[in-house]
């Protein structure tokens, strides 16, 4: 099983390759969309590179819970409900949702994922 450092190095390499960013821009705290400039189509590339690099399979819904965020049961007035937050936590146990919980606007979810979140997710897959 790879160490956390090894996971970070591979995730960093995948992001540098897919997004054309510099090594030092890919810090654990950097958000994928806001800081690294990832657009939706980049995630196709990022997921592919991670699958290849770690020899894992990444089902889309594990990283992108669109079904929860578009479910009327879990969203009200553009915000994720308590039930929705519970569903997100269950689906994405590796993600730090603490900031999002303060003001869980659906439109902000896309910019939530950090490099550290991605590393934690990968660690759950390779362990």
């Amino acid at each position: 099983m790879p160490t956390s450092e090894e996971v970070f190095e591979k995730v960093q390499a995948a992001l540098v390759d897919a997004l054309g960013v510099e090594d030092d821009e890919v810090t654990p705290e950097a958000t994928m969309v806001g800081d690294l400039g990832a657009e939706s189509i980049d995630f196709l590339d990022i997921v592919f590179k991670l699958e290849k690099s770690f020899g894992i399979e990444i089902p889309r819904e594990e990283l992108f819970p669109d079904d929860i965020l578009t479910n009327a049961e879990y969203v009200a007035d553009g915000k994720v409900t308590d039930g929705g937050l519970a569903a997100l936590k269950e689906r994405l146990p590796w993600a730090d949702l603490s900031k999002f919980e303060g003001n869980p606007r659906v439109q902000d979810f896309g910019n939530l994922l950090t490099v550290q979140d991605l590393c934690k997710y990968v660690e759950t897959k390779v362990s």
Binding site: D17, A18, S40, I41, D42, L44, D45, F48, E51, R60
Partner: protein
Amino acid sequence: MRWFWIDRFEEFEVGRHAVALKNVTLAEEPLDDYAPGIPHFPHSLMIEGMAQTGGLLLSQLSEFKARIVLAKVTKAEFDTIAEPGDQLRYRATLVNIQEDGAICEGEISVNGNPLGTVELTFASLDESFGNDSFFVPGDLVRILRSLRLFEVARNEDGSSVAIPEHMLADEQRLMQLAK
């Protein structure tokens, strides 16, 4: 002028790989203007040729209904040039296919020798980009025939790939209009 940067398909294995040829000639405008005195085929147009090869390979999976666009050139590395009289060969392999796009790895050779490699990301546009088709199906099928796509296209079991019914029907419609 039509934006064709491949001449003919040589191989077409459904959903997996395709090989297309491109003959380079001094009669093409880009060779004249690109580097006066050193006529060679622009590498940017090789990327376009690979995108057309891989894009049609991906589009075929939806009977050419999906609206496929080149979303990103992830990598493009070229070691040499192609000059008038040379023959380029684009080998496109779809290495990952998802609902919203695909990743294509491409190898380019010139006269049988490696020239470069590219990696492309295609996006399949959804309804948020409108519903207009990119092509008139009856028109596109004529282009695909010209490229000899259906002559070489094979399914996984080795059987030939049929021309989609909706394209044939639209071609009939165009012929009626022309009368």
